[in-house]
């Protein structure tokens, strides 16, 4: 597989402590550590920000409230008042993905650049959406696949298309996040090897890719924020579809 200098080496999972839970490999790895750290940081961020909370917020509290209001508004705009019960879910998803994306840019392994992780998150979202749809509408939820207003003779075409697009949602949702994270980190890794390679060839040449790294890094910070936002907003949109049976 990838050797130590490959741009893919940064995605390697290293087992820190082997662990076996009833035949299932549950080793504590560097990814587990980072996920736990993200959970700890997110919780600390909010709890510390809300410690000694006042009516007129300070800077730290204002930051926490900014995230809260941001997700609350996102949910309200996209799902209406009925989506309020999913606020903890969307907020946790957003903060978890954002934390993993950002912490990955600062040297730690990027958990969200693992397709298993992103697919598990996307699969969970789609499961929740489907369960909510069936709980709210019962078998009437199947009418979701037959768009109202489409002519009858189009139905044989429309229904399979709708089912495929519904089933492909977890894939597109997970691959979008995964691909963005991998691409950014591979790009940074390739530029890093260029710095070493060109600098070894002739010292000043190494400066060219080195100058590009901060730019790519800034773009990656933007992408990290955007992908967390996109994941959250798509979750809201899917939830809205399930709650209101609307396209």
């Amino acid at each position: 597989m990838a050797d130590a200098h490959s741009p893919l080496a940064q995605f390697e999972i290293k087992t820190l402590m082997p662990l076996d839970l009833g035949g299932v490999d549950a080793s504590f790895t560097n990814a587990s550590l980072i996920m736990a750290v993200v959970v700890g940081l997110v919780t600390l961020f909010i709890v510390a920000g809300m410690n000694k909370a006042t009516i007129v917020p300070g800077r730290f509290q204002g930051m926490v409230e900014f995230f809260y209001e941001f997700i609350a508004n996102l949910l309200k705009e996209n799902t209406g008042p009925k989506g309020k019960q999913f606020f903890p879910l969307v907020f946790s998803l957003f903060m978890f993905i954002l934390g993993c994306n950002l912490i990955g840019l600062f040297g730690a392994i990027t958990v969200t650049s693992h397709i298993v992780v992103t697919f598990a998150l996307a699969f969970m979202v789609i499961t929740v959406v489907t369960v909510v749809g069936f709980m709210k509408h019962g078998t009437h939820y199947f009418s979701y696949f037959a768009p109202a207003g489409a002519p009858m003779w189009l139905m044989p075409l429309m229904i399979p298309l709708e089912i495929i697009s519904y089933l492909i949602r977890p894939i597109s949702l997970s691959v979008r996040l995964f691909a963005n994270m991998v691409a950014g980190h591979v790009m940074l890794g390739v530029l890093g090897t260029f710095v070493v390679g060109l600098g070894g060839l002739f010292f000043a040449l190494g400066a060219i890719p080195l100058a590009a790294i901060p730019l790519i890094f800034a773009l990656e910070v933007l992408v990290a924020l955007l992908q967390a936002y996109v994941f959250a907003i798509l979750t809201c949109i899917y939830l809205n579809d399930a709650i209101h049976l609307a396209h």
Binding site: I13, T43, A53, I55, P88, F96, V111
Partner: protein, 163 residues
């Protein structure tokens, strides 16, 4: 790519589930209610302040209306007072004028009667003096005594002629 190595799937999934469930529980039970509480409190405070401000505004409007009414009342009172005073003065003036005119007319009348009396008296005296004078002058001229009655009759005739 290391991501497609099936050996890493199960530890990643197990720890993802553990950590994400932990995050979800921490968020929904511990962290988010705190934020929600303070935001609700703030919204309540703002609403309360708005309600209070509205109430104060209504009160101020009431006070202003009362003040304006008091001013209007005072103005009306003052106007009524002024009108009454004006009417009083006019009435007094008219009364005084009437009294003065009456007194003036009375005085004029008494003066006129006095003048008339004085005139007739003067005229009578003029006649007596004229008779005396005429008798005296005629006696001196003629050297004979003239009858007083005849002189009087002559003066009368002359006065009548002249008048």
């Amino acid at each position: 790519m290391p991501q497609f190595d099936p050996a890493i799937f199960s530890p990643l999934l197990v720890w993802l589930v553990l950590t994400f469930v932990a995050l979800y529980l921490l968020m929904s039970k511990l962290a988010l209610p705190k934020v929600a509480a303070i935001i609700d409190q703030r919204a309540e405070r703002i609403e309360g302040n708005l309600a209070k401000a509205e109430q104060l505004r209504a009160e101020a409007a009431g006070v202003l209306a009362a003040y304006e009414k008091a001013i209007a009342d005072a103005k009306a009172g003052a106007q009524a007072e002024l009108a009454k005073a004006g009417a009083d003065i006019a009435a007094e003036t008219a009364k005084r004028e009437a009294e003065f005119g009456k007194r003036l007319a009375e005085q004029t009348r008494t003066a006129e009667t006095r003048i008339k009396a004085a005139k007739t008296e003067a005229l009578a005296q003029v006649k007596a003096i004229a008779t005396d004078l005429a008798g005296g002058i005629a006696g001196k001229l003629t050297g004979a005594g003239v009858d007083a009655n005849a002189a009087g009759a002559a003066v009368d005739a002359v006065v009548k002629e002249r008048a």
